[in-house]
Amino acid sequence: MSEVNVRVHHLTRVEGHGNIVVDSKNGQVVDARFEIVESPRFFEAMIKGRRRNEVHFITSRICGICAVGHTSTSIQATENALGIEISQQARVLRKIVFYGEQLQSHVLHAYFLAAPDFVGAPSVIPLAAKAPEIVKRALRLKKMANRLCEVLAGRHVHPIAMMPGGFTKYPTTKELKSLKAELLSYSDDVDETVKLFASLPVPDFAHETEFITLKNSKEYAFYEGDLYSSDTKKTTRQIDYRTLIKETMVDYSTSKHCHANRDSYMVGALARFNNNFELLHPRARRAAEALKLKSVCYNTFMNSHAQVVEIVHCFEESVALIDLLIEMTVDLNEPLAEPARLSGRGVGACEVPRGLLIHDYTYEDGLIKEANLIIPTGMNLANMDANLRALAPKVMDKPHAEQELLMEMLIRAYDPCISCSCHLLHVEWV
């Protein structure tokens, strides 16, 4: 009888450490899980007692690739807790910086982490030797995205200019026009990215699941919106997230699991695509057609393709918002908005590259008293287990090496960010 017994210790090409464990007995799946073995990070404890103007600088250092996401969500939580109302120009600028991070993160995941599997390369380094033009294109697009963040927020990794209440520095019209021209010069690279992913073979898989994302009526929600469940088709206010999302401990994982209306749910690009497809930019919708991606898609392997659709969307939206800022004529001297109070509770929720991120802060006399952070990868963990359980029966008759590869690709498709940023060099002298 065919069986599946897969053990992958410290899965490669994901951020952080996790083990895949899948076992069957007499043709029945008896175990399927993705074990998180990283130690807890205790960021919530680190920001206790901190002032409102330093919290987001600390949380931005949680991660180097989602620094803008953590910064933005943190600032929103602070602003909501203390009644800080930002201006329209600040809101527009924040969105462009946010799109910049989506671009660079998605480009890197799609090209460096996911694509090697699809083309049979063990990692990006042999891919670089074999097809340097593909890797160079990825690096060009990343550089473009970094430029957005650098010009508008000081730098991408741990942005400088973003503060509760607005920005400490605004771009001039000349800088915005130059940035837009620079951005548009990469348009062909965006098209080539769609063509590349349209050419890659995708494993056949479908596992019906609940998708939870932000949603708003005006745009494909990244920066603002209510929480939306594809199961109930209802929205929940951000402040009430605990009525929708429940966190639980599991004995084989140092990270908590989340569930909403079922035992698990999915967040991320595919979830956003499924929940908000109708609000995508037309060029992004054409990209989805080219990629054969349709809403509702339950194939987790297509999450990378959903990221490519979002690359197109964020590219177009960035250009449009730069035009809007130019039209608005930015007030370069606008001061930071002040708080209405120094005590209160506020929640910030944004769609960072990997999915829904929540920061929940309670301030007392201007200092953080309590905090809770729920990271998108944490939200996906229970669904990863469910996906492995669903995939295992379908691969029982395949050779072991293929079983293992498909399970690795399945977890990688989520673009998990498990540990965030502990990177130590380990060397020996030659």
Binding site: S39, I58, S123, H156, V157, H423, L424, L425
Partner: protein, 159 residues
């Protein structure tokens, strides 16, 4: 970047300041900012990942300050070139979220890029884990690292 557009020298501190001694490189930059070596750009690299490749293409020479497990007593500061070592990192991966200096250099070479001449100034860490600050023994190594960077910067600029 065209050859003419390359800048002469950068000192880049990498690491996560929320992870104890992992943040050593960034804290060295913060010290250097009080009395910067002349002719060098100081860069707080934080947890930058592949962005390092961009910096290696933007400068002729780069000094990277980092924590490194070199099997030496905690607090030891060493200056070396990438060719003096090989990586024995537990996982063979190029992370997007953290700075694997040797992996980034390898990728740059695989792409046929001309990279900056790299000098690494590293400290042997004592504690790497959730902590906003250095361990005592590594904090005492800050002046030695600042001096090592300043000497290297002078030597690289022919002084």
């Amino acid at each position: 970047m065209t050859e003419d557009a390359r800048k002469p020298l950068a000192v880049i501190g990498v690491g996560n300041v929320l992870f104890g001694d992992d943040g050593f490189g960034v804290r060295v930059i913060w010290e250097l900012q009080k009395n910067p070596p002349s002719g060098a750009d100081l860069i707080d690299g934080g947890s930058l990942g592949l962005d390092l490749l961009d910096l290696l293409q933007s400068y002729w020479r780069v000094i990277i300050v980092d924590a490194a497990d070199m099997a030496l007593p905690p607090g030891t500061v060493k200056t070396f070139a990438p060719d003096d070592v090989r990586s024995i990192a537990p996982d063979d991966r190029l992370s997007l979220h953290s700075t694997d200096i040797l992996g980034v250099i390898e990728l740059g070479k695989a792409l046929g890029e001309t990279l900056a001449d790299v000098t690494i100034v590293a400290v042997q860490p004592d504690f790497v884990g959730p902590k906003d600050g250095l361990s005592d023994v590594v904090a005492r190594a800050l002046p030695a690292a600042v001096e090592a960077v300043t000497l290297s910067a002078g030597r690289l600029q022919g002084r």
